[in-house]
Every structure is written in structure tokens, then in C-alpha cells.
């Protein structure tokens, strides 16, 4: 019996995304933070040089992180390590794949490198996650090979309102598609500017072809519960943990709240005495909205 091993198939790439369901993926900038995240029960960490709140504050061009920093975090923990490349920057993605990161986030939090094209994600064995604000954007990214979608929200604000808007937009479009006739799918593909076969798949299954996680603005256990109840399958927490007053305690509380997202008693217990969450910004006062990046 020949034993052919195939790496990097869609099933293998989407499979890791499916295993992260119900979990919390935490942004970390040092090996120490990565250990705090793992201790708190994170399912994965996102290795980056600055959390989105600091990228927002500092301005300038935000790029892929230093490989040495990513390797330091890989050495510090046993859970999957993700890293971000700029939108369309396939050379950064190639570099991250060579570093053997477990997932690449083609992220609007970094400054886009290409105003027209996203990375061809089928060209990689490493799975990709991409952000989306609506169903069409999500399906375009899946059509390019993304193995996971995260609703974008507005990273680095500690304000959940954009994440809620994006999740609700995606889930209500999915519900609309699920009741569409085959004939209506052609028009809906045009309206969402999405590949017809993916529109047809969502219409028949009533869900995205890949897991949908939520990012951008989660700062408390209740925020995590909210987005899980709105249909997110897991959460990314960026600035919300290490910009809070007591990161280790906040991290553990968000992990437990995500696992028991529909249980208000657990939510009340873990939310007591957390200290200050990250400060947070009004969306109207922002100079740059990351969610607008990507096409």
C-alpha cells in the first residue's frame, strides 16, 4: 500500500482553523507575553512587533515583524504561532512560510503593499486568515485561498461596535443567501462581487466554507461573549489583553468567557475585579480606519 502524504491541501489548512474554534488567539510582542497567553489558555498567539493600539498611535508604515522576534515566540510556547504580512505582500508571506509559522494573517492592521491584489493564498502550504467586513469580501478572500475569515472590526480601538457591525452584516447576508433560489444566486454573486460557486455553496450550506472568527475591538469577557453569541466561532484579542491593567487575569477571563459564552453566571464570575480594560477610542475620532483597507 503506497502511503502518499499530501501537505498544504485545503482540507489540511482549513482543518487547523477548525481546531481553533471556541478559543482565543492573543496578540503578543515578546516571548514573556506569549507565555502569559499560553498560561491563560490561549489556543494560539499572533506574534507581532507592536499591538494595533501602538501601531495606531505611532503612525508610519507598519510592516511584517522581525523574524528573530517571531522565532523567539515560537521557541517560548507549544501552541500555534501566527504572524501578519501586509495585504498583497507575497514576499513577506513567503518569508513567514519559511519561518514555519502556523498561520499567516494577511492583515489590514499593517500598511497595505498592493492597492489591487491580495496574496494568492493557494500558492502556499501555510494557511491564511484574512479580514472581512461583509460577505462579498469574505468570499473573495476564500476564493483566493483563505482558510479562515475573521470579521475585521476596528483593531486597536478597544471599541466593539465595528466588530458587531461586520459580524451582523456577514451573518445577515448568509441568512439571505440561505433562502435564495438558484436563479437568485446569479444576481447575488454580482451584488456581493463574489465567485458564483462560493455563493452557491453558502446558499446550500447556510454557512461560510471556512470558520469565521472575530477580531478588532474585543476588550472584555463580555465583548467575547457578545461576538460569540452573534455567530463568531472564536476570537482574536489584540490590544485588549496587554493594554489592560492586569493582562494575565484579563487573558484568563476572556478564555473562560469564550468557552462558556452563553452562560451569564460564568461571565459574571470571571468579570469581577479585572481592573481597567484598555482605554478605548470612539470610531469617529480615528485618523485611520484599518477596516477600509482590503478590496
Amino acid at each position: 500500500m503506497s502511503e502518499v502524504e499530501r501537505t498544504g491541501t485545503s482540507r489540511v489548512k482549513r482543518g487547523l482553523a477548525e481546531m481553533l474554534r471556541g478559543g482565543v488567539i492573543m496578540d503578543v510582542v515578546t516571548p514573556d507575553q506569549a507565555r502569559i497567553a499560553e498560561d491563560a489558555g490561549a489556543v494560539a498567539v499572533m506574534a507581532l512587533e507592536r499591538v494595533p493600539a501602538d501601531i495606531r498611535r505611532d503612525g508610519g508604515v507598519a510592516r511584517m515583524s522581525d523574524p528573530a522576534m517571531i522565532e523567539g515566540i515560537q521557541a517560548a510556547v507549544t501552541i500555534p504561532v501566527m504572524a501578519k504580512c501586509r495585504i498583497g505582500h507575497f514576499a513577506e508571506a513567503q518569508l513567514l512560510a519559511a519561518l514555519n509559522v502556523d498561520f499567516i494573517d494577511e492583515s489590514e492592521v499593517l500598511t497595505p503593499a498592493d492597492e489591487t491584489h491580495h496574496v494568492d493564498k493557494f500558492a502556499f502550504e501555510t494557511p491564511f486568515v484574512c479580514g472581512a467586513t461583509n460577505l462579498g469580501e469574505a468570499l473573495r478572500r476564500i476564493g483566493e485561498g483563505a482558510a479562515m475569515i475573521r470579521s475585521k472590526g476596528e483593531a486597536g480601538t478597544g471599541n466593539i461596535v465595528e466588530a458587531v457591525r461586520h459580524l451582523r452584516t456577514i451573518t445577515s447576508s448568509i441568512r439571505e443567501l440561505a433562502s435564495a433560489t438558484p436563479q437568485e444566486c446569479y444576481q447575488l454573486a454580482k451584488a456581493h462581487a463574489a465567485p458564483l460557486e462560493l455563493i452557491q455553496e453558502v446558499a446550500s450550506t447556510g454557512k461560510l466554507p471556512v470558520p469565521m472568527f472575530c477580531a478588532g475591538g474585543i476588550a472584555t469577557p463580555a465583548d467575547a461573549s457578545l461576538v460569540m453569541q452573534l455567530g463568531a466561532e472564536a476570537v482574536f484579542v489584540g490590544s485588549g489583553i496587554f493594554k489592560s491593567q492586569q493582562p494575565a487575569i484579563m487573558a484568563a477571563a476572556i478564555v473562560e468567557a469564550t468557552a462558556h459564552y452563553a452562560d451569564p453566571d460564568v461571565l459574571a464570575r470571571v468579570s469581577r475585579g479585572l481592573g481597567d480594560a484598555m482605554r478605548g477610542d470612539e470610531i469617529d475620532g480615528l485618523d485611520v480606519t484599518f477596516a477600509e483597507r482590503g478590496w
Partner: protein
């Protein structure tokens, strides 16, 4: 004679719960999401899904589930553990965290992430050990429509008979390094057991919930009396 559909408790604190629920529903079982001890009441079998074993261990502990779920397992309730779920069943874990706990009911030493990182994750076709697979455990597979599964190995589902090869997806998979004589290998890969059985316990280092093949879940339900 009408018998009630078996009720399978799926540990639902973290991991790929949905795929197991779909499989079990396709086989006519009902499922209960297990998050707190009370959820264990009335379950006829259990599934510990794939996910992140360190996270799962911590959440099981925080939920106060180690003792009550361990009691249910000790009573001989059939259980299937896949990947992280297999780690949660094993007596010994290598390359885990020092504070990682398991139920310790499957007499095996399991190495976490033994094949490497995600880029080393793979799918393959497994030869099953024919003498361990009787014809009655054959079930026609479901039709799981998926887009863009380019490059996947052939599923060859339509003519699946008892001991035909099985497609297996390994994701940052563990490896069974050593196991007791009482543990039977139902399938092996690269010289190591990857699907094992010990009395009421079934364990896979891969993910039978990610492929259309229903044989592993059928085998779990066959253990329910």
C-alpha cells in the same frame, strides 16, 4: 423493537465540536454539548474533539469536569478522542506543558505535535488492519460538499467496504509512542498506531471528523448498549 437514539456528550469547551456533532447526527445519534458537570447526566457515549490540548486541559479543570467526566469514563462509557481528545485520554504525555492534565484512561504515551508545525500537517490514505474491521461497521458516507479542496487525496467513498483504506487528516498531530498490550491498533502509519482501541475507548491521532468516512463514529456508537 424501537430503541432510543444514543445520546452522545461532546466536550464543547474548545475545539472542533461542530464536525463531530454533524457526524453523529448523520448516524442518527443525538448530541449534548458538555461544558459543566450537569451536562453529563444521561449521556450514553462521549466524544473529546480535536483542538488545543493545553487549552482544553485548563478549561476542563476550571469547569470542575476532571472528576465527574473521569468517573463517567471509569464506569466504562464508550468514548472517542481525536487528536487533542486522544491526548486528554492518555496516561502519559510527552512535550506537553508541565501543568497539563489528562483523564489517564488510555494506556499509552502520546507525544504532542510529534510531526512538527502546521506546514508539516498532512493527509494520507491509511491501510486498516482488516481483522479488526467487521462488515457490520460499514456505513455509507455522507456527502459533505466542500469547495476548493484542491490537492486532497482521493476519498474513494462510494465503495467503502469494511477494511478499505481510510483517508486521514493529521493536523499538528500527536504520535502514540508506546502503548500497553491491552491497546489494539486498528490502523498504523509510519510504524506507529494512529487509531487505537482499548475496551470502551477509541482514540485517533488524526481527524475522522474532517472526512466523509463514518466508520470511526459508527464504531463508537456500536459500543453503546
Amino acid at each position: 423493537m424501537v430503541t432510543a437514539a444514543p445520546n452522545v456528550g461532546v466536550l464543547a469547551l474548545q475545539g472542533n465540536v461542530a464536525a463531530h456533532v454533524d457526524k453523529l447526527a448523520a448516524l442518527g445519534a443525538t448530541t449534548t454539548s458538555v461544558r459543566v458537570p450537569d451536562d453529563l447526566v444521561g449521556v450514553d457515549a462521549l466524544v473529546l474533539p480535536g483542538g488545543e490540548s493545553t487549552t482544553m486541559s485548563r478549561l476542563v479543570e476550571l469547569a470542575g469536569l476532571f472528576e465527574p467526566l473521569g468517573d463517567v469514563l471509569a464506569a466504562g462509557t464508550p468514548v472517542l478522542g481525536t487528536c487533542a481528545g486522544l491526548i486528554m485520554l492518555a496516561t502519559d504525555v510527552v512535550d506537553g506543558r508541565s501543568d497539563q492534565r489528562t483523564f489517564g484512561v488510555l494506556s499509552a504515551t502520546v507525544r504532542r505535535n510529534a510531526y512538527g508545525r502546521q506546514n508539516q500537517s498532512f493527509e494520507t490514505r491509511l491501510a486498516l488492519r482488516a481483522e479488526q474491521w467487521s462488515p457490520h461497521s460499514v456505513e455509507m458516507p455522507d456527502a459533505r460538499g466542500e469547495s476548493g479542496t484542491r490537492g486532497s487525496v482521493e476519498d474513494a467513498d462510494a465503495d467503502t467496504s469494511a477494511a478499505d483504506a481510510m483517508t486521514a487528516v493529521f493536523i499538528r498531530a500527536p504520535r502514540i509512542e508506546v502503548c500497553a498490550d491491552s491497546v489494539t491498533a486498528l490502523a498504523e502509519f509510519d510504524g506507529h498506531p494512529v487509531l487505537v482501541e482499548q475496551g470502551s475507548i477509541l482514540g485517533a491521532t488524526f481527524h475522522p471528523e474532517l472526512t466523509p468516512d463514518l466508520r470511526v463514529h459508527r464504531r463508537l456508537l456500536d459500543k453503546v448498549h
